[in-house]
Symmetry: C2
Subunit: 157 residues, 2 copies
């Protein structure tokens, strides 16, 4: 079973694809989708094109994505939520199972500690995937962490 | 030229379709799209089905939609933003011109006063459309107000 984790954003979208086998989790690919469009409507269409290209290439069964909670910048928050809406909508319509987790649940699931910092999450992601050399920037690490958590939840339920 | 105004929501979406002719604005139709799905991913797919059905039936040229600003309920705000993202994305992909206005710009454009209450907006919508008997609940009134403003902006630019 293939699981795609997404860290949504209006101009940078982290993604990570993992494969869950009977006894372990393998990294398939990970990276950043960069959205070049200047205005939001065009950015949403570009987000769709990038995301559907990934879905068509790898055919994952599950989308894992963090829930959003914001305080600081409301304008950015809205743009990220709109991008997230498009991704969830496309995943659902493409027949994927959608798993949403709050950030603290992802952190607790990966590191054992719900308030873990990004460094701790990235470290555990590398250990779980057995990829000590993997360069995991924040967006990618969060995407992979959500995917790993979903792989545990899907198989334990 | 047909313009569709949308007041986005996660479970209730106000819509209003107007026609701008050389000398006046006509009401075509208006109402509420009610989303029955219990969970958010399914609600986004249902939003798409309702919205695309409207687009296909009336073939508007322009989507007019308010920008979102929130403070009170962050969870609701995120769900509304996700719904809004899907609507803007579908409009853009269907070839519509997308016009976004802040709520205060819509109010000022319709009533002359940026902090006008909903009652004043509804009253002016009825006058502008020459529909004294129209029952305009909040979502519908806001959707029509955005459409009316877009009709002015599209033609004056």
């Amino acid at each position: 079973m293939l699981i795609i984790g997404i860290d949504p954003g209006s101009r940078r979208i982290g993604y990570g694809l993992i494969e869950k086998t009977a006894c372990k989790i393998n990294l398939i690919t990970a990276g950043i989708l960069r959205i070049k469009a200047k205005n939001d409507p065009s950015a949403l269409v570009e987000t769709k094109n990038h995301f559907l290209a990934l879905i068509k290439k790898y055919r994952p069964t599950v989308l894992a994505i963090e829930k959003l909670y914001f305080a600081k910048n409301q304008k950015t928050a809205m743009a990220v939520a709109e991008s997230r809406g498009v991704i969830i909508f496309l995943a659902k319509e493409s027949g994927l199972i959608v798993r949403e987790f709050s950030p603290s649940v992802v952190k607790a699931g990966i590191t054992g500690y719900g308030s873990a910092d990004k460094k701790a999450v990235a470290k555990m992601v590398k250990i779980i995937l057995n990829q000590p050399e993997l360069q995991v920037i924040d967006d990618v690490s969060d995407a992979l962490a959500a995917a790993i958590l979903a792989s545990q939840k899907v198989f334990s339920s």
